[in-house]
Assembly symmetry: C2
Homo-oligomer: 384 residues x 2
């Protein structure tokens, strides 16, 4: 059983944070289609200030609402025009980065027909992207691209065939001798194995870091963390064992036998976001013979109590990386759970452990925090 | 320019065919969630006769309709219960296999929140699967699985980065010497590069055929055929040249340099469904130095006029494969376009060409026809 029940429950309750400018700000009319729209779809749109505008055709509907725009306060109500089309703009600019959302049409929950779909909250949700000032690090550029492989691997413990996505760095397929280290990278609660490649752009982040010479080329593996087996509200009863068995006994041996990996502990890392960070902490600390680099993205931090309770931690852990979005650091509930990641990080450093804290500016418990976390984490990996 | 404008227009207008049993048939209450539902979603459901049942929450809506159920006749109207939930069952059993659909809620088009999404009709549509009596050939089985690779390749001619999905057969990644033939496999109008792997199950079909020893292991490449550049209704103005340039000058060299392919013409095939079949016919006949095996799935047939107008056809084409769903063979508009594929096939045979016609029983212009076409086509490939 995981030790972090209270924390998991808190994480699941933290809503994406939206920060609004003062009312009265002039809304600039430079709206453009979101980069996450379906091909050719004009709406939703985003302007240069971060306001989002929606347009939904439902001529006979009584009420149409967008879940985005006023986090926790009812979203954005759309207004019906004379043409029967519903439109509306958020009351203020939204945080940079990726946001999940959905529509409420006459009391029913539907996706926005203009947006592409991303798995979050245990359903395929609509997604919108507010262009970040630093979006270049996950842009599709004219650099050598790695490949993302969809893998179906046998899982005897669950009597099923499971899926993983495996990123191999540029050149992997051309050189038949070279072997690579591996990062196992987990999604959060309500998400699945698609998250890190689809909305996380993990493959593009690595392509770009490698092209700039900022990180050693490595393989990334993302599979389903079985995080949705626990129902919302009862997440405290989540049992790590079934997923740990799939990861340690089934997926890692599969990857090591099907890809050209370096399979010793010094060449294996694990990281995860939110509940995936909790999984990462529990699994790596119980398996330090298999992992040397650990990343918790918005998913707790390492305390000296953890270190002292885990034989070999000081000798074996080459990197204990912790990150947060700056907005969730300010959240009272989050603070009450994680304590002070900065103080924890300093305590580990003082004990001679390579401990790093990264705080993503002006982002909440959302994917831009985690894209940036991966960007910061990757160059620190596989140094020996 | 393509020569088949009239045919393309016809194909785009042929609606999926639904065949209903006589009214009065007793509907069996053995409904189960569709295999294409989102995880954990109970609806839509399908019973053993092929009836589909829908359930949509939209308590304040005035009208909810499902586009499936009475092809071309308005679909299935749902009825609101006392609990505010809309439910309804198709008026009869539907054809076996995969169907695209969507909801109409108070005049707006939305997807079914219970179903997964599949790109068709130039949008991500909902999908439902009516279990086919022969579904075993595309089932996920405990056999060695190949990998599906997402590839981003540079396209100078369109000044963009394009995506392709590449299937490599089981064992490809373990043996660093063996080289494989390649099938280029195209989707239809309104679809994209995801279609053949997502709703076509091309990877599973090949895994199973290879496990049974029925086909030589080969690589499959699916990219976007740029078929949606032409608007519905003006499909006759589709220009093949931009896509031909991407395929011949950019994608094929990329695949041959990044994967262990056999790159001579005897080891390269092309096939496509519907408008992708039209693309296949035009591109292969203009590039017989590059392709030896050709498959047109619900996308026209080869006439002796084609053969006579194409120098080298008889010597170079190792297989001219044509297929249809039996229901579209009965469609008057389709007949008027394709003439008589059986007579055409016989004429080619008489001229000494390896010409094969396959008709999928009891299916229309839909994916079960094309899954079966791939199953029939694959064992005939790469015989030299």
């Amino acid at each position: 059983m995981m030790k972090y029940n209270k924390g998991l429950a808190v994480l699941a309750l933290v809503m994406p944070g939206m920060c609004f400018a003062q009312t009265g700000e002039k809304v600039l009319e430079d709206f453009k289609p979101s980069t996450m729209n379906q091909p050719g779809k004009e709406y939703p749109q985003v302007n240069s200030q971060g306001y989002a505008r929606f347009r939904v055709e439902a001529p006979d509907a009584k009420a149409v609402n967008v879940s985005l725009g006023l986090g926790g306060k009812g979203g954005t109500d759309l207004t019906k025009g004379a043409d029967g089309v519903w439109t509306g703009t958020t009351a203020g600019p939204m945080d940079e980065g990726f946001h999940y959302y959905h529509l409420k049409v006459d009391g029913g929950i539907f996706n926005d027909p203009g947006a592409q779909n991303y798995y979050g909250s245990i359903r395929w949700e609509s997604g919108i992207e507010i262009p970040a000032h630093d979006q270049d690090f996950y842009a599709v550029k004219n650099v050598p691209h790695g490949l993302v492989h969809e893998v179906l691997f046998p899982s005897a413990s669950t009597n099923s065939t499971k899926r993983a996505f495996v990123y191999t760095p540029p050149g992997y397929e051309k050189n038949d001798k070279k072997r690579y280290p591996v990062l196992y990278l987990q999604h959060g609660w309500g998400e699945n194995e698609y998250a890190w490649m689809n909305q996380g752009h993990a493959n593009l982040i690595l392509d770009n870091l490698i092209a700039e010479g900022k990180t050693k080329p490595f393989i990334i593996v993302s599979t389903y963390g079985m995080t949705n087996e626990a129902k919302f509200g009862t997440i405290g009863s989540f049992d790590i064992k079934p997923f740990q068995t799939v990861l340690i006994n089934e997926l890692i041996p599969y990857v090591d036998s099907h890809f050209r990996t370096l399979s010793d502990r010094k060449n294996r890392a694990m990281a995860g976001l939110s509940m995936g960070g909790m999984e990462t902490k529990t699994i790596t600390m119980a398996n330090l013979d298999k992992f040397a680099y650990i990343g918790l993205f918005s998913g707790g931090s390492f305390k000296m109590d953890d270190v002292n309770a885990t034989p070999g931690f000081k000798e074996k852990v080459k990197l204990a990386f912790v990150s947060y979005g700056s907005r969730e650091m300010m959240d009272e509930r989050m603070r009450s759970f994680v304590g002070d990641p900065k103080a924890n990080t300093e305590a580990l450093k003082a004990a001679g452990i390579n401990s790093v804290l990264y705080v993503s500016p002006d982002t909440a418990h959302e994917f831009l925090s985690w894209r940036r976390s991966l960007r910061e984490f990757s160059p620190l990996l596989f140094k020996d």
